[in-house]
């Protein structure tokens, strides 16, 4: 795909779904491929704009390195935070095994 040449393919959508940790059915793959392609086709109109030498804007405010005084403040309540978790053990967030299958 050159600048914004070729259309987004079904394989692209499947690849991106993997990156985004989403599982799509065959029907969803089909539907989303068409819908994303339509939006990207519309967005291709920005190619007509000359942006040579234009600095990109990531944020509307020129703020950098916003610091606060290094003073101790109350944090959020640990029990309240853990109370919202799907699973907890020994005051920690409990998750299934990170690597491989269950032993």
């Amino acid at each position: 795909m050159g600048a914004m040449g070729g259309r987004i393919s079904r394989d692209d959508v499947a690849y991106v779904a993997g990156l985004a940790r989403l599982e799509l059915s065959e029907d969803e793959l089909e539907l989303f491929t068409g819908q994303l392609a339509a939006v990207l086709d519309h967005a291709a109109d920005v190619e007509a704009l000359d942006t040579e030498g234009v600095v990109p804007t990531a944020h509307p405010l020129p703020l950098v390195n916003v610091l606060r005084d290094d003073v101790v403040r109350p944090g959020l309540d640990r029990d309240e935070i853990l109370g919202a978790a799907p699973a907890v053990e020994e005051q920690r967030f409990r998750v299934p095994p990170v690597l491989g299958e269950l032993p």
Binding site: G2, A20, L22, E28, T51, I81, P86, F93, V98
Partner: protein, 487 residues
């Protein structure tokens, strides 16, 4: 629309502070209206009736004790359900947060309460604020109080409908690409997107962090100003909060627009804008001219590319922000043998189709090989839009354009065509990209009898003249109708 407890927010607050009305009665009256009609409208996801009653009784006790509970004493406020409320469900209209109760209040919520306002409920939205009709809610759509066959707009459709239906005198929304102003326009109420950074985003569930801004929905310009005065001002908990106090808006509200230079954006009056909407914008320009403003055509060439830039930038930021929903610390978890599989199962079950589309779009435009062509290009277009606005503001103090291309559309009309839905934000998106403030004011009706909103845009921190122009338009409409501003 008739039988509502029809006082303006500032009138309610004055009466409560003076001890002439009880806050508890104000809350009960509004809860009664909600119970009577919200079955039909579905503006609320969660009613905070117990909280509201007990808060109102507290306010009444303070008044009885001779204390002043604050400038919004006893005024019920409808909160968009992406604003965190401690211990009260905050769903973002998503299955993934369906049962989540935040451990803290958003700064805007704390400030409302400190000003004596009474949160009365959490309102429906498009899931994670992604949408323009409030149909992308996991809990069903909201309907437009002016015509229940039509959408209220979105994504703050619940708050806009709540204000339009008289369920609450004030509402809070969030605006990433028009999500306050567009539903305000379609529901016939006032909606404001303040300057980026004027209102703290602490406790606003993030969608696109460089674009998101919280703002008021209200029946009148003065009420919107009163609400913004309470929620604005620096917050150390938001590193993108602008240093400095909240602006004083109400003091200068009636000073008019005599001598101000107002530009009507030609690029947003052409193709795609319905003739009846265009006619209302022209009438608004005439009203400002009649009030002494110097009105001319203005050109902001790059705004025509705003929609394209937005639908590359906003999904990119969303794909990053929504990576946090992984089933580990809060929200939904769908169990699976490994953490990786659990992440996928949770996100697949928890997110609706529009959220998935935007996450995928964002992941795609940020992915290796496409970043420069899409995301990088869009960021440069954002710079061009900022430049073009800056150039226009060398000639003009304020700019005027439609809020939406058409009046409210029927439910279901655009759900299967995301691009058509996105196009309804074409007039509101440029202000999010530039970070500048904008207000939508009801300015009459379209050929179908439904409300039309007109936008007034100002340069960053130009809220005061922007509100003055909005007040002039409101006054002109009241004069034309021979009655008070439509509530």
């Amino acid at each position: 629309m008739g039988e509502r407890p029809n006082l303006a927010a500032t009138e309610i607050a004055a009466a409560v502070r003076a001890g002439e009305r009880r806050a508890a009665d104000v809350v009960d009256e509004h809860l009664a209206v909600i119970r009577e009609r919200d079955g039909e409208i579905h503006a609320f996801l969660t009613l905070m009736d117990e909280h509201a009653r007990s808060a109102a009784e507290g306010i009444d006790r303070r008044v009885a004790a001779g204390e002043d509970p604050g400038p919004l004493a006893g005024v019920p406020v409808a909160l968009k359900d992406n604003l965190c409320t401690r211990g009260v469900p905050t769903t973002c209209s998503s299955r993934i947060l369906e049962h989540w109760r935040p451990p803290y209040d958003a700064t805007v919520v704390s400030r409302l309460v400190a000003a004596g306002a009474v949160p009365i409920g959490k309102t429906n939205l498009d899931e994670f604020a992604m949408g323009s009709s409030t149909e992308n809610s996991a809990f069903g759509p909201t309907r437009n109080p002016h015509d229940t066959g039509r959408v209220p707009g979105g994504s703050s459709g619940g708050s806009a409908a709540a204000v339009a239906a008289g369920f609450a005198p004030l509402g809070l929304g969030s605006d990433t690409g028009g999500s306050i102003r567009q539903p305000a326009g379609l529901c016939g109420v006032v909606g404001v997107k303040p300057t980026y950074g004027m209102v703290s985003r602490y406790g606003l569930v993030a969608f696109a962090s460089s674009l998101d801004q919280i703002g008021p929905l209200a029946p009148t310009v003065a009420d919107a100003a009163a609400l913004l005065e309470v929620i604005a001002g620096h917050d150390p908990l938001d590193s993108t909060s602008i240093p400095g106090p909240a602006p004083a808006l109400r003091a200068s509200l009636d000073q008019g627009v005599d001598g101000l230079r107002v530009g009507v954006i030609t690029e947003l009056l052409g193709e795609g804008i319905a003739p009846d909407v265009r006619a209302r914008v022209e009438a608004a320009a005439d009203a400002l001219a009649a009030a002494g403003a110097k009105v001319e055509e203005a050109s902001v060439p790059a705004v025509g590319f705003g929609l394209s830039a937005y639908y590359l930038i906003a999904p990119a930021e969303a794909s990053s922000n929504l990576a946090r929903y992984d089933g580990v610390r809060y929200g939904l978890r769908v169990e699976a043998p490994t953490t990786g599989a659990m992440n996928v199962a949770t996100r697949t079950a928890g997110f609706g189709p529009e959220v998935k589309r935007r996450i995928m779009m964002g992941s795609f435009v940020l992915s290796s090989g496409y970043y420069d062509a899409y995301y990088g290009k869009a960021q440069k277009v954002r710079t061009l839009i900022i430049r073009d606005f800056a150039a226009a503001y060398e000639t003009f103090d304020l700019l005027v354009c439609p809020t939406t291309p058409t009046t409210a559309f029927p439910l279901g009309a655009k759900v299967s065509d995301p691009l058509a839905m996105y196009l309804s934000d074409v007039c509101t998106i440029p202000s999010n990209l530039s970070g500048d403030p904008a207000i939508s004011v009801p300015f009459g009706r379209g050929d179908d009898g439904l409300p039309v909103g007109v936008q007034v845009l100002a340069p960053a921190l130009g809220e005061a003249p922007m509100f003055r122009a909005a007040a002039v338009l409101e006054h002109a409409m009241a004069g034309a109708a021979g009655e008070g501003p439509s509530r």
